[in-house]
Amino acid sequence: MADNILEVRNLKKYFKTKKGLLHAVDNVSFTLERGKTLGVVGESGCGKSTIGRSILRLIEPTSGEIIFNGEDLMKLNTLQMRAMRTKMQIIFQDPYASLNPRRTVGQTISEAIKLNHLISNKKKIEERVSELMDMVGLSERYANSYPHELDGGRRQRIGIARALSVNPEFIVCDEPVSALDVSIQAQILNLLKELQSRLKLSYIFITHDMSAVNYFSDDITVMYLGKMVEKAPVEDLFLHPEHPYTKALLSAVPIPEYQEEKRKRIILSGEVISPINLPDKCRFSTRCPEFCDICNESEPPLKEIREGHFVACHNFR
């Protein structure tokens, strides 16, 4: 019986816009085992960022259940939810926008500790901040620096230290390295991996970078326009992708290797349909290379086609 730290059931988030109802996250369900990483991939508009924030109730979900350590977060009131926040944290994508420009590094990292009254002694707080900075590879001498004095990689480390300061069990990593240079990306990914094993953290890793998610996840779910189209353990997904979108996505990633023959790639044609007022048919049908008539008639349900591997495609009816 797996120890699931998080179980999401039928999560929905709809936004009311002038043109109609925007289905940002549409009936998503998954489980996350303690200590593991779930990768959530997709392109812009697929809802992956919204899922991350909805799970933490930074955005209020429209409906669904979020069972964290056995407790449904949706049933908690504001005060109870605030108390929960020490257990679940988030690392943001933009190292420039996610830090208050008027607070020093030390102040930012210690804020969560002070707000949640985790440590009362001032000296002990300073020690803890030093400890955290050390853990994330930030030199102590930056404690009095302001964010604009540091580069993107260091700022991201501050964000990580802040998230760790409350001793969370679970962290949503929302595109944590997309805004960084290639060589810095590798440093941060390694750091996150190391922290996971050291502190027994569970992650949801949201990204559009297929190679990063390959490196950094145990299970992966592929999102398209708010729906989960495929979910599988990472190696199974990369070696045997089943959904046409997943296949196209994997094929589209340029490979940094010399090839004698230019490999054959799946190039999608057609346009992405609007996420507002979605019709009742497969959302990928307008671009799908394996499209057939039934795809226009109804949305395919998510089915488990082999152990741990789920696909939502009429090909598997």
Binding site: F92, S98, L115, A143, N144
Partner: protein, 289 residues
């Protein structure tokens, strides 16, 4: 080797560093510091009863001379002395009024910008109503209703500016509240009050400060205006606007009686406007590097 901690350069020293680069800012600072020093010294040199309001019929309406640099008024009082003494009212009330309107305006504007919805609508519609009435009218109504004590005058001068401050604050807060670090604060468990004051306001305050320094000049003119029509500081206490008012009937032939109080207002307002320019330049992030 333990590297020394990077010395903490507070935001103030950064701002001061930038401020010094602004010519207008430094010029304005010199002017205002000069004026303040003069008023301060004047407080000890002059005696209120004899020098400031003491009438001397023999020396009435004398043109500027070595003895009376700015001449004397219709009661024989030295105009220079009265200008220096009267400056305290303009400056004190002007600055206090701006401070008051800023605090009130910022509080309303932050709530309007942060909460939106009904709260915003109510606050902003009130702001609209007040803004539709000319500031001087508001001041007059207030003074007529509540009297002319210094405290009431300060409020009267500040009322007209509150809607504008509310508006600027709201706009600034609206841009800042969607920044990711505000979301981050929520994620670590901060409640709304902490978020508004520590995260949003700290970053939204720059345009408000700039606008405030530029409003000081207007506040000084405001108190002068109220005194000009007799609803401000009462005679015989000198106040620049009141002095202008009583000089009206002597413009033909004794223009110096109006000239010097007018110049005092002008130079003071200019000084504060230059400081305002300097503050704006020093806080403009684009000018950094």
């Amino acid at each position: 080797m333990k590297l020394k901690k990077v010395k903490r350069r507070s935001t103030f020293s950064e701002i001061w560093r930038n401020y010094r680069k602004s010519f207008s800012g430094m010029l304005g600072l010199v002017i205002i510091v000069g004026i303040l020093a003069t008023i301060f010294v004047g407080n000890f040199i002059y005696d209120y009863d004899t020098d400031v309001i003491g009438q001397n019929v023999a020396e009435r309406k004398q043109a500027p001379s070595a003895e009376h640099f700015f001449g004397t008024d219709e009661f024989g009082r030295d105009i220079l002395t009265r200008i220096i003494w009267g400056g305290r009212y303009s400056l004190a009330i002007g600055l206090a009024a701006v401070l008051m309107s800023s605090i009130i305006g910022v509080i309303f504007g932050s709530f309007a910008g942060y909460y939106g919805g009904v709260v915003e609508t109510i606050i902003m519609r009130f702001a609209d109503i007040f803004q539709a009435i000319p500031a001087i009218m508001l001041g007059i109504c207030f003074v007529t209703a509540f009297g002319q004590s210094i405290f009431m005058l300060t409020i009267a001068v500040s009322i007209g500016a509150i809607p504008a401050v509310t508006r600027v604050t709201r706009a600034s807060v609206m841009t800042v509240k969607d920044m990711e670090y505000v979301e981050a604060a929520r994620a670590i468990g901060a409640n709304n009050i902490v978020i508004i004051f520590r995260h949003v306001l700290m970053n939204a305050i720059s345009p408000v400060i700039v606008q405030a320094t530029l409003r000081i000049g207007g506040a000084i003119v405001g108190i002068a205006a109220l005194s000009f029509i007799g609803l401000g500081i009462t005679a015989p206490t000198p106040e620049w606007g009141a002095m202008l008012s009583s000089a009206r009937q002597y413009l033909r032939g004794y223009d110096y009686m109006a000239l010097y109080p007018g110049l005092a207002i002008m130079v003071t307002v200019l000084g504060f406007n230059l400081i305002g320019d300097g503050v704006r330049d020093s806080m403009d992030p684009k000018l950094k590097k």
